[in-house]
Amino acid sequence: MPKVTFINPDETRVELEVPVGTSLMRAATAHGLDGIVGDCGGGLTCATCHVLVQEEFLPNTPSMTPNEEQMLDFTAMGRQINSRLSCQLVMTEELDGLTVRIADPQL
């Protein structure tokens, strides 16, 4: 199963196995990673599952919908060049080894 490394705001790292087809937001909340809030459950209305994608992986990530584009402007941390909403990062084999930093704050 492909793996993803989350870097928490306190710099600790958590590696999770994420089944293909599962979003990083669901994987993180299911494993109790508090830094990912994900209040709306992937509906693109809360902007609280913000992550910063390690840049070498950016080309492998799915393209952004206009809705995600807009919601990134409403994140609490503010948008960075490598910002994504983790509810939209659905696991694929190509993303194996992906590392993301959890944005802080989310709320």
């Binding site: 994900g38 709306c40 693109l44």
Partner: protein, 394 residues
Amino acid sequence: MEAPVLDIDPYATDVLKNPYPFHEELRETGPVALIKPHGVYAVGRHVEASEVLNDPVRFTASGGIGIQDIRKPGEFRVPNRLLENDPPSHTNIRGVLSRLLSPIVIRGWREQFESEAKKVVAQIVEMGEFDGVENLAEEYVLRVFPDALGVKLPRKNVLAIGEMRFNQSGPQNELYRIAMEKAQPYLEWFESSTQRENVTPGSISETLFVCEDKGEIEPGIASNMVRSFIGGGTDSTITGIGHTLNLLAQNPDQWAELKANPNKVKSAFEEALRMETPFQVTYRTTTGETELSGVRLEPDTKIGVFLGAANRDPRKWPNPDKFDVSRDTAGIHVGFGVGAHICIGQMIARLEAEAILRAVVEAVDRLEPAGAPRFRPINQMRQLDYLPLRAISG
């Protein structure tokens, strides 16, 4: 395969008062059924509910989200420009509204919402026995939501209008006629309260008119959108909070779970929306002849997506009739809809629910039923009418 026929009226009063046997029949009849009394299709399983709502090319919203085709002679009414519209034309207006109701805006309301919640809860603690609908859910939502939006909503007026609108999206039955009649005295108020001169300066509602001036949204639709916000943010939030209180009072083990972990108020609200979905059904219209899960569908025909049925589909949910505040439901239940038209104000509803439920859990030791709850039959909704509760503290 042709759609199997189901000869049940989903809008009969006894079905509205207890929709669950109908939901089960709908799900078990097939992936889609033809509802004989109305000549419309209906889906009640989670997979097909998502498929219909995610595909505006096969299933358009432009025929209206109620059972009537608003484009047909005799049924014609002005479409709601947000809901009864498809991408790409829908995308622009949705984008403007998403900005006005952005998470940053909503987060800014938290302190005010929490402080009002404490005041309302202090009142019900003082009362001891109270109506969870009128004294708690209505009292709270009608305190915070109109101010946040920038409109004035006297309780009697807004409830009569809500009852009209959510019966209007059903067939022209007795409920529809009575609700229309009851709302007559308030129609003029409703029209004028959503005009520019009557909304609060500097509020979101006024900003909509400013967007109209700037040409970001088409002329004439700002007040249509204010009416949408009122319709979408009043009755459904009130009853969603009511359902949560009812389910907590009826399930002391789940209440104990919240007392031990107050952060679970958020998932308790989501789970209540799954169990007792406020907006029971929304419609699309087939654009051409199509197939859904192997069933052939006629063109230009309404298809009802029974959200409340999908939210208890055993294919999706283990033990679907059990209220479990630890269940992971946000974004999986379809209580806020799915796809392009997913509820735009869902984070407002969540903030209100979280604030009031947390205040209840913090101030009340035990929440008990003080009688049987009563449901109010409404064509489109699963709505509580009266919820006698007892709050015990100290």
